[in-house]
Amino acid sequence: DAMVIQNPRYQVTQFGKPVTLSCSQTLNHNVMYWYQQKSSQAPKLLFHYYDKDFNNEADTPDNFQSRRPNTSFCFLDIRSPGLGDAAMYLCATSSATGSHQPQHFGDGTRLSIL
């Protein structure tokens, strides 16, 4: 089945130690998104790629970076995690701009900071 896969499902890191979360998709969608979600709140968009074009949200901290080496993979890098970065991180994909097709989400990576 076509899907969005996030690895790992659970990640523990130390305060200030860089961490990378990964996302892959078999849907061949142009757009890939990274969201941060805290305790049953709405997902907060960090950034998204449309093909190789990177779109950062204005309020996303510089501590968060992303890479998309090809259509299938996208990575979220947190350079120096703080306690406030503990959250669920969701990857999603969608087809082209303005489409009526919904987003497809992975099951997320829950990040804990020690």
Binding site: S40, T97, G98, P102, Q103, F105, R110
Partner: protein, 114 residues
Amino acid sequence: AQSVAQPEDQVNVAEGNPLTVKCTYSVSGNPYLFWYVQYPNRGLQFLLKYITGDNLVKGSYGFEAEFNKSQTSFHLKKPSALVSDSALYFCAVRPRGTGNQFYFGTGTSLTVIP
């Protein structure tokens, strides 16, 4: 500014009773409208969408939603609630034709009481 409102943080309903989860939006144009469900430690799962046409749309797991253009609302409904419907529900809106942004509501936690 674009916004999506879910006025109820929590909805409780008895098993077998009808349920409604409310959503209103303020997004320019005639956006596409979506409902997603999220179970604990999972990503968001697509339930249904409104594109055009009939104001009542049917989706997965017996859910349906009613679009009201004059009230800019898109309420989620189910005629007979199941305990397994207990989850977090998000309304989302995507502008037509331009951009890749999805705007999410704040979420409604649905509890179905046996």
